[in-house]
Amino acid sequence: MKIALLSALNAERAKRSAAVLVTDLDSGEQRLVKAGQLRKDPLADALHEQLRLGKSGTVEEQGRQYFITVQSPPVRILVIGAVHISQALAPMAKLLDFDVAIVDPRTAFASPERFAKVALHAVWPDAYLEQNPLDRYSALVALTHDPKIDDVALSAALKAKCFYIGALGSKRTHAKRVERLKAAGFSEAEIARIAAPIGLDIGASSPAEIALATLAQLTAALRKTDAMPAKAKVAAAR
């Protein structure tokens, strides 16, 4: 591979843009296709499919074999709420190789003593999001169940089509949340993308167990195309 090509691939990653590297396995010829240029490529359909799955793989076209290296941006998790669950979730997410940031404007919660070695921001979510916008490769985990803090971030996550959106709260809390989001103009299908109550149903009760259930659900949304029906619809509509 040409070093210039590798540099270009790495530069796309630094920008959090998806890209694919196509290698002709017979001739060794290679080309970089950026996400925005997929349509013009002779292998457009195959590249789209591999990128949608987020998986590298070999495709055959007219008797030639091509290897498609898929580079999706690294997954980020934005956690709203420096709460007890977040204290367990942050180190678990790190083990899973996800970037984690915790945002909570309540300084009593967002204290460095409670969160060692985590990107912790004691600011309002809208201020944080202005500097660090969400995208399709981001997940939002809303844990304060305080509308003043959670709602702004949930709206932003729905608009950015985050691959996973989860919100803590009882069925009653969520019903009220749904009403507020409807009033804000979101459709039922969009709101259905929010996993609430949050996490896989494993009977989780302690904060760490809820963190585990949440990260398991988030991982399923990332890896399984059928884990979240609404996600598949979003992908198909693209």
Partner: protein, 107 residues
């Protein structure tokens, strides 16, 4: 921690820019219970230093040896590993899977 495939590619670029001879090994295909998924990378320099993995450590030694040859000749190679027969055990995958690895030089 240098863990994700993309971090490894960033490292490869860094190595190449230090004028080290570098080869990139990529898992192209897997059959059965292969330990690392398609797209996994291993990078190797001319001295045999390496980073990343293409198997759970089963065939890295062999890939590193082949990669040093690729760095010298500049010619890409396709390697296959698996438990085809008893003699393949030496560098085979103990898990019973098979993998195909593409090794190319960065130039």
């Amino acid at each position: 921690m240098v863990a994700s495939e993309c971090d490894i590619l960033a490292k490869a670029e860094e190595w190449a820019k230090e004028n080290r001879g570098v080869a990139l090994a990529t898992v192209i295909e897997t059959w059965g219970s292969a330990p690392r998924p398609v797209g996994s990378h291993l990078i190797i320099d001319e001295n045999g230093s390496f980073l990343g993995s293409v198997s759970g450590g089963c065939v890295e030694g062999e890939v590193v040896t082949e990669a040093m040859d690729v760095i010298e000749t500049g010619k890409s190679k396709m390697l296959e590993f698996g438990v085809a027969d008893e003699s393949a055990w030496r560098v085979g995958l103990s898990c019973g899977g098979r993998i195909k690895v593409y090794v190319e030089k960065l130039d």
